[in-house]
Structure formats: structure tokens, C-alpha cells
């Protein structure tokens, strides 16, 4: 898929948080085959300078980074964080989160659109974390977003696709905009289902990081995304209410 002019081989974008160890994170990134990982900015603390070591490790992985504005509840915070991220990570990409509610971590769609407009005007290439709402999506596209990232379910819940009808409608409404399901994926079958709806990619984190074996799960997610994509392109059968024999009925022997 093409994200702001960059052709990306893997349709999986992987978060880097909540892994048991940096080594497992690194192996999971490799196992996933992803070309893009999300990162954040946090206060550098302690004599260990954890951020520097983390950053060195990420650079060694040879993947692109997509910095997020996680935890920002206001437009100002998000925009400032985006600027800091552009300097630190040397990329115009930003995963824009403007959180509206601490319990659901759902986007504040008003703040999101406002921040997206500011950042797009300032040359950022914005990946907005949004809902399946069409009217919000239209404003984001008007603001200059060339990608939309609706949630599947609230962040970290692992519930999969909470509103399939809404996601299907969004896909139908924006046939040309790359759509990436971001958040809520808990299982490979969820990721495959999103791809079968025609989504272009999946961004996930907790489902891999918190699996019993994150490395194996990273591979499983990558595989499922390929399967879902292939199925979408292959053209699935239509589900039907009535059963229909697969084995032909004609020519059946009379043995009764």
C-alpha cells in the first residue's frame, strides 16, 4: 500500500509498547515483517537514559517510525508533541491522537479535526486515529489527511471489530483513501476480518505485546493480514441462509 507516497510492503503496522523486554520487542518486529513501528515521546528520565537505548534499538531494526501523540487530550498538546516528534524522529509522519475520554480512549473528534488541519497545513503527513464516523472522516480528508485510521474497538480491549457495519460503510464511502484499522484487534481472525472488508492495513500493539509468546503472535498477525487481503482480492462467496450441498446430488446411487 502507498502511504503518503511511500510504497509499503507489509500491511501491518506494529506498536512498540508493553513488551516483556526490549529483546522480545525486537524479535517481534522482525517476526512481523512490518516496515513501520509506532513510537512515542516521553520525558527522558534517570541516569540510564532509557529513551536513548530504546531509540538506538529501533534504528537498528531498519524500519520506519510513526510517532504518535498518545495521551494528548488537547489540540495544543497534540500539535506541540507532533512538532517535537518531527524533530526527534526526523519524519513528517505523525499518528495523531487527541483523546476525548480517559475510559474509552476514544478520539475527541473535534480536537482531532482541528489538530489535523493545523498539522497538515504545517507540512505534516497525518495518520489520524479516528472513529468510523463518516462526517468526521470527511473533515479529516478536507483537512489534508491522505490516510484514515478508524478504531476497531477501544485501545487495548482486544475486542476486534466492534462496529462492522460502520467500518464497512466507511470503506464504501472512501474507496481511494488508505484505511487502516487502528486499535482493538485482539486476534488474527480480527485482523483478517478487517482486511476482508477491504481495509488496507492494520495497526496493533497490545495483542502482540501481551500475548504469551509475542514473537509467535507477531508472525500470526502478519500471516492473517495477508490471508485477509488475499481473500478480499480473490472475491469471497456470498453467505447464504439456506444450506447447499457441496457434493453434487445428481448421480447419487440408490442404495436405500
Amino acid at each position: 500500500m502507498n502511504l503518503y507516497g511511500i510504497e509499503v510492503a507489509s500491511r501491518l503496522l506494529l506498536g512498540t509498547a508493553r513488551y516483556p523486554s526490549p529483546a522480545i520487542l525486537a524479535d517481534a518486529v522482525r517476526a512481523s515483517g512490518t516496515g513501520i513501528v509506532t513510537v512515542s515521546l516521553r520525558r527522558e528520565a534517570g541516569p540510564q537514559r532509557g529513551g536513548q537505548a530504546f531509540w538506538a534499538m529501533i534504528r537498528d531494526l531498519g524500519v520506519r517510525v510513526l510517532p504518535n501523540t498518545a495521551g494528548c487530550h488537547s489540540v495544543k498538546e497534540a500539535v506541540t508533541t507532533a512538532h517535537m516528534a518531527r524533530e526527534v524522529f526526523d519524519t513528517p509522519w505523525v499518528k495523531l491522537e487527541v483523546i476525548g475520554d480517559a475510559d474509552t480512549l476514544q478520539p475527541d473528534v473535534f480536537g482531532l479535526v482541528e489538530a489535523a488541519a493545523i498539522l497538515c497545513a504545517d507540512g505534516f503527513e497525518v495518520f489520524p486515529y479516528t472513529t468510523e464516523d463518516l462526517s468526521v472522516a470527511e473533515r479529516l480528508v478536507e483537512a489534508g489527511c491522505r490516510i484514515l485510521m478508524p478504531w476497531g474497538a477501544p485501545i487495548g480491549t482486544g475486542k476486534g471489530l466492534n462496529n462492522v457495519l460502520g467500518l464497512r460503510t466507511l470503506r464504501a464511502h472512501f474507496p481511494e483513501v488508505p484505511l487502516i484499522v487502528d486499535a482493538g484487534i485482539g486476534l488474527p481472525s480480527h485482523a483478517a476480518a478487517a482486511m476482508e472488508l477491504g481495509y488496507d492495513g492494520i495497526l496493533l500493539n497490545t495483542a502482540v505485546a501481551r500475548a504469551g509468546d509475542p514473537i509467535a503472535m507477531a508472525g500470526a498477525m502478519a500471516t492473517a493480514i495477508e490471508a485477509g487481503r488475499a481473500a478480499f482480492l480473490a472475491g469471497p462467496m456470498e453467505p447464504r441462509d439456506m444450506a447447499s450441498p457441496s457434493t453434487p446430488m445428481i448421480g447419487q446411487a440408490v442404495l436405500g
Partner: protein, 65 residues
């Protein structure tokens, strides 16, 4: 000068943001910084004077989802 660095009060000799970062040991580190909630580009750290009570934020790459 008394400033707030990442939320903690600290006494520094520095009078510019660049000096402050040096003094705090971030000279070569990959960090971004803000003063009183406003982002300061790396190229402007030299010319960013600090005043008593300023709040400095210094952030670095971290895990994210």
C-alpha cells in the same frame, strides 16, 4: 536559577536552554525540548534564554502504540 525540569524543581547555572541541556547531560542525546509548554527547535536552543521559574520539558523516544 531555579527551574522546573520535567516536573521537578532544579537549580541550574545555565542561562540558555542549550546550556541547561548540556548541564543536565543531554548534550548529545536525541531529545526535544519545550519551555513553558512551547516547543523550542534544536537550532533555537542557543538563543532561548531561561528565566527563573521556567518549566522545561525534555522528551526522548519511547515505546508507543
Amino acid at each position: 536559577m531555579n527551574v522546573i525540569v520535567n516536573g521537578s524543581p532544579q537549580e541550574l547555572c545555565a542561562t540558555t536552554l542549550a546550556q541547561a541541556l548540556d548541564e543536565l547531560g543531554y548534550g548529545a542525546a536525541t531529545v526535544a525540548s519545550a519551555v513553558n509548554g512551547r516547543f523550542v527547535r534544536a537550532v533555537s536552543r542557543d538563543i532561548t534564554a531561561l528565566a527563573d521559574g521556567d518549566a522545561i520539558e525534555i522528551v526522548a523516544p519511547m515505546q508507543g502504540g
